[in-house]
């Protein structure tokens, strides 16, 4: 019968950020008699959660939602606020970052023992597993080389290979599956799958909904420090995707947010209104015409910009009018963006549009995934770039 691995009751975590932090004696004495200004951030707000032994719990949420703070509290790195109750039954090994304590000047061999002991393993255990670690990381020929000479992929492979040797009851995996090349990622996923089969309790944070659905037996979605949704991973992932793309200002359409002091009134893509735009297939040029109007004059240095992301949600390109053409928006008017997309490889892309303040970066009108488009190419290449290449035989 499975028992409770982690029990969390009314867990709250507040950070106080000192606006004039007294880190030196001078500043301490200068402000000794006046209270330093602090800002209060309630990162986790009254979270209650039970995790059974053997569960593979997926944790999803936007950046800054409180996921990492929750994991750090479970891992014992942060302390929860008073009144919170946390019970952890079993040894916890957190993989919040791979290669913690790695020393670039030391060899791979030395770092195995340094990093391994930091993660709670004994030298004896590491000696026994040494060949496995080196073999799994595929670094047999480089293990006595200082790791400063490793590529980032090699370093992460070594770090992952050490980390998986830590035997624990509860594993905390925070976005660590994006390690190394595709072949190594498959190997890493195999290890994660083994942990699942061995009945280990795993808390798994990922922005990849596919990974959450594939591996997890249950998922929670954390939003603004609270559990917004909990249950079947597929349902939670769907809820998250819908919610994350929804406007934070309820009166505005889907995917739209910002302070609204300057608004995009109409958007024309390739001579067609964005409202009626269906499929858009391109090869070379993309033209976007934006009409906008403003409520507050002279308060900002407004610029118009865009981002193109691929189907893996990787940012391919982004810029704004202030950077490219030194153009600031007037009180109202129209602006045309001509984009040469011949550098993009064949695939599906999404375009975010925005008007923002150049100085502060504040979003005045942000349109997430304003439209999608496909790039048609005759040849298949790897990656999202389509660079002009010539091969010559000498």
């Amino acid at each position: 019968m499975s028992h409770l691995a982690i029990s969390i009751r009314n867990l709250t975590k507040t950070f106080f950020i000192y606006e004039d932090r007294k880190a030196t004696l001078k500043s301490l004495f200068a402000g000794f008699f006046r209270q330093g200004k602090t800002k209060r951030y309630e990162v986790l707000d009254d979270i209650s959660l039970d995790i059974m032994a053997g569960e593979f719990l997926g944790i999803i949420g936007r950046n800054g939602s409180g996921k990492s703070t929750l994991l750090k509290i479970i891992a014992g790195i942060y302390a929860a606020d008073k009144g919170s109750k946390l019970e952890v039954n079993g040894k916890v090994v957190p993989f919040l970052e791979l290669g913690v304590g790695f020393n670039a000047e030391l060899s791979g061999r030395e770092n195995i023992f340094l990093n391994g002991t930091i993660l709670g393993m004994s030298r004896k255990h590491l000696s026994e597993k040494f060949a496995d670690i080196v073999g799994f990381a595929e670094l047999e020929n480089f293990i006595d080389m200082p790791i400063k000479n490793y590529s980032s992929g090699m370093m992460l492979r070594l770090a992952f290979s050490i980390a998986i040797q830590a035997s624990a009851d509860i594993y905390i995996l925070d976005e660590i599956l994006a390690v190394g090349d595709e072949a190594f990622q498959r190997k890493s996923l195999g290890v994660i799958e083994t942990l699942r089969q061995e009945g280990k309790t795993v808390l798994f944070v990922s922005h990849s909904m596919d990974a959450i659905v594939q591996h997890c037996s249950r998922a929670i979605y954390i939003k603004n420090g609270q559990i917004a949704s909990e249950g079947d991973p597929t349902e939670v992932a769907k809820f998250y995707q819908k919610d994350a793309s929804r406007n934070y200002l309820p009166a505005q359409p889907l995917g739209r947010c910002g302070s609204s002091e300057i608004m995009m009134d109409s958007i024309i893509v390739q001579k067609e209104d964005i409202e009626t735009l269906n499929t858009l297939t391109l090869t070379n040029n993309l033209t976007i015409e934006i009409s906008y109007s403003t409520k507050i004059v002279n308060k900002f240095r407004p610029v118009v910009g865009f981002q193109i992301t691929d189907s893996f949600e990787r940012l391919c390109f982004g810029t704004h009018s202030g950077l490219e053409s030194k153009i600031l928006l007037d009180d109202q008017g129209q602006v045309t963006i001509d984009i040469d997309v011949s550098g993009l490889a064949k695939g599906e892309y999404k375009c975010n549009l925005a008007i923002a303040d150049e100085e502060t970066g504040a979003r005045l009108d942000w349109f997430e995934e304003a439209f999608e488009f496909s790039i048609r190419r005759d040849s298949e290449v790897q990656g999202y770039l389509y660079l002009p290449v010539k091969f010559r035989k000498l």
């Binding site: 301490l28 913690v100 340094l114 993660l119 030298r123």
Partner: protein, 257 residues
């Protein structure tokens, strides 16, 4: 437990390696700093015949013990103070026994002391000195007292430094002044004669312990076991309060580091 010992040894090894990494003379720097200081001071003070005239049977050894001990105390203080900040990247990502980082930092000072003292032994041997068992015991005990007090202090300063970075400068200044108000290269009464200042300097507990080490090696005064044990006992009490302080504040260290 195994892991804690292994982690301690790994941290000591790494700290030691990295301190002299990429340096041409490497670990020789452990010796160069105190021994070059010794040479300069010895040439000047023995020539002037002021330092400890009439109070020591061997001024070279007297001075050497002073400098080697001061170097040890200085390293206990400075390494201990930086112990948490030096491991900030690990503290933010892994929940390990953070006190091990403090002990490891101080253990590096012990390793350096061992290297330095080895040369004291060699030089003392060349000068025809003889060791007594009780003397060796006094010497070891005195350095244990320094370590206990150093560890107690580090448990406070390593935490406070995270919130108040000036601690480093305050300690640097204190250690600089300590060099002059402690009988490192002089004997108070020989240099200053009888009087209040001489009495105050003689009452400096660090100076008392250094004089006891000199007594242990047989170049100054007589050993006083009860006095050393009393200092050890007070050191243990200080260490206890340091440990309590450390335990209380270490829980939130990751938020402030």
């Amino acid at each position: 437990m195994n892991n804690k010992v292994d982690l301690l040894l790994e941290l000591i090894k790494t700290n030691f390696k990295m301190r002299y990494y990429n340096s041409f003379l490497g670990v020789l720097w452990v010796l160069i700093k105190p021994y070059s200081t010794f040479l300069v001071l010895y040439i000047i003070w023995s020539k002037a015949n002021l330092g400890a005239a009439g109070t020591t049977t061997d001024y070279a050894i007297y001075l050497l013990i002073g400098i080697v001990s001061y170097t040890f105390i200085n390293e206990l203080v400075t390494f201990g103070q930086a112990a948490m900040l030096d491991k900030a990247n690990v503290i933010l990502k892994v929940n390990f026994s953070r006190q091990i980082a403090v002990v490891a930092a101080l253990s590096n000072a012990v390793v350096n002391l061992a290297i330095n003292f080895l040369f004291v032994v060699i030089i003392f041997g060349i000068r025809g000195g003889h060791w007594s068992l009780s003397g060796i015991l006094v010497i070891v005990l005195c350095y244990v007292v320094f370590f206990v007090w150093g560890l107690g202090l580090a448990l406070f300063t390593s935490i406070i430094t995270v919130r108040l970075r000036d601690i480093k400068n305050i300690l640097d200044l204190a250690m600089f002044l300590l060099l002059y108000v402690t009988p490192i290269f002089y004997e108070p009464k020989a240099l200053l004669g009888e009087g209040l200042i001489s009495d105050i300097i003689s009452a400096n507990p660090i100076g008392i312990l250094i004089q006891q080490i000199r007594a242990g090696i047989g170049v100054y005064g007589t050993t006083n076991f009860p006095l050393i044990l009393a200092m050890l006992a007070t050191g243990i009490v200080f260490l206890y309060f340091g440990w309590k302080f450390f335990q209380k504040y270490i829980k939130r260290i990751a938020e402030f580091i």
